[in-house]
């Protein structure tokens, strides 16, 4: 395990809003090929944490390093260029473009061609865009207007966009929120497969405990801004403190009956 390089290292991440500590002294590491889940009840500070990791938000103190490089306080677009892709809880795509064009824009940016005024984009990195779409199972939809897609397909498209710059680290904010049960399993299986094949690190937040315990290699539990537990799914399941917090939240061994009940 020690041979696998550390992708992401977070030390003492802290953020407060007017006296309220949203995130307090959070530290953890993420290794290549690892799928790490960040869970916690509503208001635990998951989103704040996430936004600081890709530069959407600036921490009050603490350090974030991606592959040894400092990314603390850098803008999202800079963090992206350092190899960090991100998907959002509510998908953010380009609704007036086709599915393929959505990926092509990301490739244009990756290849530093944003200020190219002359050549046609129609054939710009067409094969690579197609490959990325095939990877997420969207190849058949390449020419469809993005605005027409079903929500689950939008999530998969977003994943393809996030993979366009061959990131080392993928941040996924509630990747399966708003999806049908079967779609959730498919998307996470796909993510896990991509992570293995490309030895990506994946950090995701999720409310669906089935998804978390099925797919995460390791779990971080956040409560009131601090990490209260960290470990393998089995260790976290057995943690008394975690169970206390989640009492009534449905962190039970077999949570299948709760499927689809999450907002």
């Amino acid at each position: 395990m020690s041979m696998v390089p550390t992708l992401l290292s977070v030390e003492g991440l802290t953020k407060s809003y007017g006296g309220v500590h949203a995130v307090r002294g959070v530290s953890f590491e993420l290794r290549a090929g690892e799928i790490l889940a960040l869970i916690g009840p509503n208001g635990a500070g998951k989103s704040t944490c996430f936004d600081m990791l890709n530069g959407q938000n600036t921490p009050d103190s603490g350090r974030i390093r991606v592959m040894g490089q400092e990314t603390t306080g850098k803008k999202p677009r800079v963090v992206w260029r350092m190899g960090v892709g991100r998907t959002f809880q509510i998908t953010a795509t380009f609704p007036t473009m086709t599915v393929r064009e959505n990926v092509q824009v990301a490739l244009v940016s990756h290849r530093q061609q944003l200020f190219n005024l002359w050549r046609s984009t129609t054939n710009f990195a067409r094969e690579e865009a197609g490959r990325l779409l095939d990877l997420v199972g969207m190849g058949a939809y390449a020419e469809r207007p993005c605005g027409e897609l079903a929500y689950g397909d939008l999530k998969r498209l977003e994943l393809a966009i996030a993979l366009a710059n061959q990131p080392k680290l993928l941040l996924m904010d509630e990747p399966t929120a708003g999806m049908a049960p079967r779609e959730r399993i498919e998307l996470m299986r796909l993510t896990a497969q991509i992570a293995r094949e490309q030895s990506l690190g994946v950090l995701f937040t999720e409310h669906d405990m089935d998804v978390v315990f099925e797919h995460a290699d390791r779990i971080l539990v956040l409560n009131r801004g601090t990490l209260i537990a960290e470990g393998s799914p089995e260790e976290v399941r057995g943690n008394a403190q975690v169970r206390a917090i989640y009492l009534g939240e449905g962190l039970v061994y077999d949570a299948r009956h709760r499927e689809g009940a999450h907002a």
Partner: protein, 629 residues
């Protein structure tokens, strides 16, 4: 010393009216999210109605009764406008709201002339405030002192209204979250109507109170709306305190600016606005607006380059247009040249608006700068025409680079207001800096060289450059840059998180659009043989907006058709009626309400409907766009 104090007091007195109008605009925006462009028109109506009530019908209500009655009457007109027009467009994109209320402004300008005539009207002085107060040997009109007191009093009344009444609580709640207030069972319709009535009342009162100080005239609406936009940009939209502080600031800058830069006093206001925008982009007391978020699942037909057949059709159309000199007379060719020039102007704005999602309300500034660039070069440097044509538009480029840098820091309504204010500043410089620009007399004798002087030659030149501009802009639309620009428009969040520096992309687009407009302006200078401040006036900016809208803002090159139809219609209309603004304004309102997709957009969706059997999808402009609060 006393002189400076008096100057200071004059500034404070001017601030009172400005504050009334700006606070009205801010209150309306806070609740309805509409930037009421017609606010200046209501201000002007307030002044005219007050003039009639105090002058023509004096005695009936007395002076003060007349002032208040005037504001109430105009507020009633405002209620009518809100119920008939605005209720239809609350969910339309902000561009359409701005345009509809601007259409109203145009209509009111002509209506005012129809009713009260074109001449300036001098109102009577306010009873009890006719004299002046001696202030260390300087005279201060006592009416100014009254206004200085009035401003803070109105601020206090508004504060009480919003803090201490049930209605005020509802208004504040709606300002924070409209949907929640509606969900709580508040009748939103009447809340909106009453808020609009209050805002219009304040504007009309501001206008009515001006009549003892200033002549009433039919251009006062645009003058005040530009100042008000500057005030709310500095103070922050939606903040009444911000409106007060910024009104005082702007008025004082005007009062003292005249002492420092007598010729171009407006520069000082511009500099302060620029500094505020850099330090606090949402104004001193404003809050950042959450970016408008498009609903997932929204359908728009993706743009495609022309097919081979369509390319041939476009080429055929160009060939037909080029054959015009074979059968048309000189007048038709001059009209043709003008239309070609406006095609260039319209496509330049269309590029910024449709591709970049940046609706500039002051695009004429760069058209005018291109025209003045030509005039300076032709008159002073005496360069050959070809060289001038290449260098002249650089002035448009320079202006777009400077103003665009600030404008792209903002988006949506702030962007629109700022571009409008910039255009007005450029216009003021052209108007006031007589030694360089000739002021109102313009610069005459800018004629093309012999090879381009004949009507058919000049027509071919304009047509050729127009075709070139359309083709180049289309190439850019489908270039990687064009996609990046559309990405920043579609989703700022996503584009930032795939490494796109949105502001730099938008700035570049602004410069491209400004330079292209400069090319149009340069040709226009040669066509007319002269340049005037009107070449960068607000009406010209609005012409461009209407052309884009008429063609279809969702299309790639709809502005070409929009420009041809609109310009031909306009030239014909001006020859037919004296009240072209009235007709034009009505036309704008009609397009926005009934025909929001424009000519090309409507044709496209008809073809699509025929092409595939799926039911028509809601267009982005007619369907509701949710805003993330």
């Amino acid at each position: 010393m006393a002189f400076y104090i008096v100057q200071f007091l004059t500034g404070l007195a001017s601030a009172a009216s400005l504050f009334l109008v700006a606070s009205g605009l801010s209150i309306i925006f806070g609740v309805t999210r509409i930037v009421n462009f017609a606010h200046g028109a209501f201000y002007m109506l307030g002044a005219y109605v007050a003039f009639t009530l105090t002058e023509r019908l004096s005695g009936a209500l007395g002076f003060w009764g007349g002032i208040v009655a005037a504001a109430l009457i105009v507020a009633a007109i405002g209620v009518l406008v809100e119920m008939v027009l605005l209720r239809r467009i609350y969910h339309a994109p902000e561009l359409f709201q701005l345009l509809a209320t601007f259409g109203l402004t145009l209509m009111v300008e002509d209506l005012v002339v129809l009713i009260w005539g074109p001449d300036d009207l001098l109102g009577r002085r306010a009873p009890g405030f006719k004299g002046a107060v001696d202030f260390f040997g300087q005279n201060v009109p006592s009416y100014d002192l009254f206004l200085i007191v009035l401003g803070p009093v109105v601020l206090g009344i508004l504060w009480l209204l919003f803090q201490r009444t049930r209605w005020g609580v509802l208004v504040r709640a709606a300002t924070q979250d409209r949907d929640m207030v509606a969900a709580l069972g508040v009748n939103q319709k009447w809340l909106f109507t009453s808020v609009f009535a209050l805002g219009v009342f304040l504007a009309a009162l501001g206008g009515a109170l001006q009549i003892p100080r200033d002549a009433v005239n039919h251009a006062m609406d645009l003058r005040v709306i530009v100042e008000v936009f500057v005030v709310v940009v500095i103070g922050g939209l939606g903040s009444i305190i911000g409106a007060f502080v910024a009104a005082v600031l702007v008025s004082e800058l005007n009062a003292f600016g005249i002492l420092i830069f007598p010729k171009i006093s407006i520069i000082l206001v511009f500099l302060v606005m620029a500094v505020v925008l850099i330090v606090r982009p949402w104004g001193l007391f404003g809050k950042p607006e959450a970016p408008a978020r498009r609903t997932p699942g929204l359908t728009v037909n993706p743009w495609r380059p022309l097919t081979t057949n369509e390319r041939f059709a476009a080429l055929a159309a160009l060939v037909v247009a080029a054959a015009l000199p074979l059968f048309a007379g000189n007048y038709a060719l001059t009209v043709g040249s003008e239309i070609a020039i406006f095609v260039i102007f319209a496509v330049s704005l269309h590029f910024l608006m449709s591709v970049g999602g940046l609706a500039s309300f002051g695009h004429a500034a760069y058209f005018g700068l291109g025209a003045y660039g030509i005039a300076f070069l032709a008159k002073m440097a005496g360069l050959p025409m070809i060289v001038s044509l290449l260098l002249g538009p650089l002035l448009g480029l320079l202006g777009a680079a400077v103003f665009g840098f600030f404008a792209v820091q903002l988006s949506g309504v702030y962007f629109a207001m700022l571009t409008l204010a910039f255009a007005q500043i450029v216009w003021s410089i052209a108007f006031q800096w007589v030694s360089v620009t000739g002021g109102d007399n313009g610069i005459l004798g800018v004629w093309p060289e012999k090879w381009a002087a004949g009507p058919s030659h000049f027509y071919w030149l304009s047509l050729g450059i127009a075709a070139l501009a359309v083709v180049i802009l289309r190439i850019i639309v489908f270039s990687p840059f064009g996609y990046a620009l559309r990405a920043t428009r579609d989703s700022p969040l996503r584009s930032e998180s795939i490494g796109i520096n949105a502001k730099r992309i938008q700035w570049t687009a602004f410069v491209i659009a400004g330079t292209t407009a400069g090319v149009a302006g340069a040709l226009f200078a040669y066509l007319k043989g002269s340049v005037f401040p009107d070449n960068m006036g607000i009406p010209l900016s609005v012409d461009a907006l209407v052309m884009v809208l008429l063609g279809g803002v969702e299309t790639v090159s709809g502005a070409v058709i929009g420009a041809i139809v609109y310009k031909a219609l306009n030239i014909w209309l001006v020859s037919q009626t004296e009240w072209s603004k009235l007709v034009l304004g009505g036309f704008v309102v009609l397009i926005v309400v009934a025909f929001p997709k424009g000519i090309v957009g409507t044709l496209e969706s008809m073809m699509n409907r025929r092409g595939n059997s799926t039911p028509a999808k809601p267009a982005i402009l007619t369907s509701r766009i949710e805003t993330a609060e």
